[in-house]
């Protein structure tokens, strides 16, 4: 079993996707995973568990905070909230990704079709 969850992803992408997801509302791990799967229309095949190491990184950087709460199914879960620093980071990342995609699009257009 290939264990590197990032095999399919650019480094940092998963973290960014989590930030984007949490940008709308505080969520717990399972819902974050579901949202990412749905939003990407299952394009990104990642193991759901690989969400958690990524969340640790966001905790360490203090971009999100976590506290215990209740899920919709009334289960005790940890709910993650974006911090001010996290929101700032989200803006930075959005701009960066936007620029990167712009660049790629332009190159693709030149290359061809």
């Amino acid at each position: 079993m290939a264990m590197n969850p990032r095999n399919d992803l650019l480094p940092g992408t998963l973290e960014m996707l989590i930030l984007v997801t949490l940008g709308q509302e505080p969520l717990h791990g399972y819902v974050i995973a579901q949202r990412i799967q749905q939003a990407s229309e299952d394009l990104l095949h990642i193991e759901e568990g690989s969400l958690y190491p990524a969340l640790q990184r966001l905790l360490i950087e203090a971009w999100v905070t976590a506290k215990w709460g209740m899920s919709a199914r009334n289960r005790r879960v940890r709910i993650y909230t974006l911090t001010a620093a996290g929101r700032k980071q989200l803006e930075v990342e959005t701009r960066r990704v936007g620029r990167a995609i712009d660049g790629i699009t332009r190159v693709m257009r030149l290359a061809g079709a």
């Binding site: 791990g29 399972y30 995973a33 759901e48 568990g49 958690y52 190491p53 899920s71 199914r73 879960v77």
Partner: protein, 870 residues
């Protein structure tokens, strides 16, 4: 970050993670079951989609460990970069810290080794020195007579044991090179009282100090090695012409009463000497019985003393006993100077800390921009604070390590320089308590200078500096630095006052005329063994022979002899009776120092005659007994008459002595001491058989020590077995007597010089900073027509007010502290106005010099350039 760290370390971290992942799996399974899967399939599918839970948990842990290690590494790397980018700042910070810590460690080691560490005897706190005291005789710490000692020992219960000892140099002969040994006559109880055992063989048995006891000797470790480490059993030494059996060798560390003591011989007094209460010549120590208090002992000794005074009024009326802890007795005199030096060291450390806080505040302000940037980029406040702490800690650790290195060099220096100057100097070492002290000093310094600016910087409004570019100047930084600079000036003022007082008293001391010529003078001592030279005539004859031969030595212009070496001489005093003097019975007896000299002594030593004549070769045994008195004697006992041709006699001797001359007083016991009344008599007419020693003085044409070998050879040619001791020059003796004051003045001078330099740099640095920060404002003022003179005045006034406040504070503190130095000063009062005024003037001048350059630069600001830079 610390909070996170603690969370990460706790067991809760793993539990939380497991619970969280389990909740995820359960949610997933619930959903799959809602879609119709069997519970078992649902759980299996959930786990499949999730991945390897254990492996993922490991990854989560790793993230945290890496983050922590990474951040510390980052901090360290960043610190090293910062330190290297500001080499001047780093060097000043580390060096001043090292000097502060180093100086303190050296001084603290010395204080610890000399004052604090207890003497190397078991239960050393129970050891006391015991002195005779008599107010009416003006005798404070007087030795003890043998009869008194034996009575004390017999009657005291508070003391477990009492021991007596007296310095009694002896000549060691029948060896390759005869030598003079520093021997102590000791009661057999000495080693028992101290609680010390021999390293080889044994010490004295209780009854080994009887008159008929076989002659035995215990030798020091260094003498044993000098003798070639002979087997102890049956080894014999010839001391003063008699054979002594060596019974024991003491360990290397045993040094009682001094490190130079070579051997201990039992104090075997005959019945007459044992019963003597006249001569007080024994030193006594006692060991308290366990449980007895010093007060009990003192009370008991008072009772014993008054009992003896009633029984023997002629000798003991008015005499009591003083008890002094032995440690105090050995090192008490050094306490004031060591404590003063310690205080100076601590003040220096304080100045160092103030200086570093100052530097860090300035740098913190300058780095406001950088810190604001880092915060804006997401660094937490705790993170910034920690970064600053790591930087301070790195400086402190570097400074501490360098300081300890300096300290170990410094301690080696003190050990060698302090030899003979400070008691127990050889025991000074960089020991565990000292290392602890340095560590505590380092930690305290980190807290004081590291945390304060760090808190200040990170509390500052972090966004402000970004808005105003690199030029954010929190006004209160300047204020804080102003206070620090004033404190530095104040501390320097205290140190400078201490130095000034010591220096002035040293100058006074060096200006004291010793009363005799000290240049080109070789000195050595000769002690004749009684066995070979039993009579006064035999002793005088040998001393005269030595003089006659010495006068013929090449390079010698004059030779003379005196019973005690001048400038560090003992001053044995005797009671005299003056003919025709009517004295009331209650008046204190006439006491005078007695010195025996050769006929040519006054001329050779350059002591002029005030009246009468010097001794001649005609003043021989059998001729009319003659004496010369000093001026104090003449004025005290013949205040209105010429003492010449008056007569006096020693209290216990029948013959009358005629005074033939008067000479000025000499600084016989050292520059600080008046010698009191003194009577000189010629060697040829000496009546004291026990006084079998002399100091030979040779005035030479070139280096005195170059004549020493020939002199030694000459004396050995007269008596093959006669050693000489204490070869030196009179100038060396003079220097030795001023060595401790010179040492203290030099140390405080160096410390306060360093402090002054730091303070001046502080004054300069702050004003230069102010000028740099206010450049645009000053530029505008100049443009608007402010005169450069008025602007300089404003800046100057600002800086000088700070300095003057510091000086005033410092002088008030010094006024209060300097009283503690009174005992160190010689003819200078602790509140010496000259010193205080000089310190104030010196600090004002130094401050003016420090501010001159920044003020000049301020007036040279090009207004246009300054404004453009905005």
């Amino acid at each position: 970050m610390k909070r996170f760290l603690r969370y990460f370390r706790s067991r809760r971290f793993d539990d939380d993670l497991r619970a969280e992942m389990q909740a995820h799996l359960d949610e997933k399974a619930d959903e799959l079951m809602a879609e119709g899967a069997s519970p078992r399939d649902a759980r299996a599918a959930a786990r499949r989609r999730f991945g390897n839970q254990t492996w993922l948990q490991e990854r989560c842990r790793e993230r945290w460990s890496f983050a922590l290690a990474d951040e510390l590494l980052q901090d360290l790397r960043y610190t090293i970069r910062m330190l290297r980018r500001n080499p001047a700042f780093s060097a000043v910070a580390v060096l001043s810290l090292a000097l502060g810590i180093g100086a303190n460690s050296v001084i603290f080691s010395t204080v610890d080794g000399v004052l604090l560490r207890s003497l190397p005897y078991p239960h050393a706190g129970r050891l006391f020195a015991m002195w005779s005291r008599s107010a009416s005789h003006g005798a404070e710490n007087m030795h003890v007579s043998p009869a008194d000692f034996y009575d004390w020992r017999a009657q005291s219960h508070a003391f477990e044991s009492l021991a007596a000892y007296a310095s009694w140099p002896m000549n060691l002969t029948d060896v390759d090179e005869p030598r003079r040994l520093e021997t102590e006559l000791v009661s057999a109880s000495l080693f028992q009282a101290l609680g010390s055992r021999a390293q080889l063989g044994r010490t004295f048995a209780p009854d080994e100090d009887q008159e008929q006891s076989a002659p035995v000797v215990v030798i020091s470790h260094h003498l044993w090695r000098a003798l070639g480490e002979p087997p102890v059993a049956g080894h014999r030494l010839t001391l003063n012409g008699s054979l002594y059996t060596v019974i024991g060798v003491m360990p290397v560390a045993f040094a009682f009463p001094s490190r130079h003591t070579d051997a201990w011989v039992p104090l075997s007094l005959d019945a007459k000497n044992r019963a003597s209460r006249e001569g007080r010549w024994l030193q006594v120590i006692g060991r308290l019985r366990s449980g007895a208090t010093p007060r009990d002992a003192a009370a008991e000794m008072d009772v014993i003393a008054s009992r003896l005074a009633a029984a023997y009024p002629a000798t003991n009326a008015g005499w009591s006993v003083t008890l002094v802890p032995l440690q105090e007795e050995l090192v008490g005199k050094t306490r004031p100077i060591l404590l003063t030096l310690q205080a100076c060291g601590l003040l220096l450390l304080l100045i160092t800390c103030a200086n570093l806080a100052n530097l860090l505040l300035a740098r913190g302000a300058a780095r406001g921009h950088e810190i604001g940037m880092r915060t804006a980029l997401g660094a937490g406040r705790a993170r910034v604070l920690r970064q600053l702490m790591v930087e301070s800690a790195a400086l402190a650790v570097l400074g501490g390590v360098l300081g300890l290195a300096l300290a170990s060099r410094g301690i080696a220096l003190v050990r060698t320089a302090g030899e003979g100057l400070i008691p127990r100097a050889a025991g000074i070492s960089l020991s565990a308590p000292v290392v602890w002290f340095a560590l505590v000093a380092t930690a305290a310094t980190v807290l004081i200078f590291g945390l304060a600016p760090a808190l200040h910087v990170s509390r500052a409004d972090l966004r402000a500096p970004i808005g105003s570019g690199a030029r954010g100047t929190p006004r209160n930084v300047e204020h804080k630095r102003g206070v620090l600079v004033a404190v530095e000036i104040a501390l320097s003022a205290v140190l400078l006052v201490a130095t000034g007082l010591l220096a002035r008293s040293l100058i006074r001391l060096l200006a004291v005329a010793p009363g005799l010529r000290t240049d080109h003078m070789l000195t050595m001592t000769l002690t004749l063994p009684h066995a070979k030279y039993p009579s006064n005539a035999a002793q005088a004859a040998f001393f005269q022979q030595v003089l006659d031969r010495a006068n013929t030595l090449p390079g010698v212009t004059a030779a003379a002899e005196i019973s005690d070496t001048p400038l560090e001489g003992n001053n044995p005093t005797f009671e005299f009776v003056i003919e025709g003097a009517v004295r009331s019975p209650s008046a204190p007896p006439v006491q005078a120092g007695l010195r025996v000299i050769s006929a040519g002594y006054l001329r050779a030593a350059g002591i002029p005659l005030i009246r009468g004549r010097a001794f001649t070769s005609g003043d021989r045994a059998g001729a009319m007994p003659v004496a010369i008195v000093n001026e104090t004697m003449a004025q005290r006992y013949w205040p209105s008459a010429d003492p010449v041709r008056r007569t006096l006699r020693l209290k216990d001797e029948p013959h009358w002595i005629t005074v033939v001359g008067v000479v000025p007083d000499v600084k016989h016991m050292g520059l600080k001491t008046h010698e009191g009344p003194v009577i000189y008599i010629p060697y040829a007419q000496k009546t004291q058989e026990w006084l079998a020693w002399t100091t030979l003085l040779l005035r030479t044409t070139s280096d005195p020590l170059s004549v020493a070998p020939a002199t030694r050879a000459m004396i050995r040619s007269l008596d093959r077995n006669q050693p000489v001791g204490a070869i030196g020059t009179l100038n060396e003796t003079l220097n030795r007597s001023t060595a401790l004051p010179r040492f203290s003045a030099a140390v405080t001078g160096a410390v306060s010089g360093l402090a002054l330099l730091i303070a001046v740099i502080g004054v300069y640095g702050l004003l230069a900073y102010t000028v740099a920060q206010r450049r645009p404002e000053l530029g505008i003022r100049l443009t608007l027509g402010a005169s450069p003179a008025r602007m300089s005045w404003l800046l100057l006034r600002q800086a000088m007010l700070r300095s003057i406040a510091g000086i005033a504070g410092g002088l008030v503190a010094a006024w209060w502290l300097s009283r503690g130095m009174a005992s160190l000063l010689f003819e200078v009062r602790p509140h010496d106005p000259v010193t205080f005024a000089a310190v104030a003037v010196a600090l004002i001048i130094a401050s003016l010099a420090a501010v001159a350059w920044p003020v000049r630069r301020a007036t040279k600001i090009d207004p246009m350039a300054a404004l453009r830079a905005e």
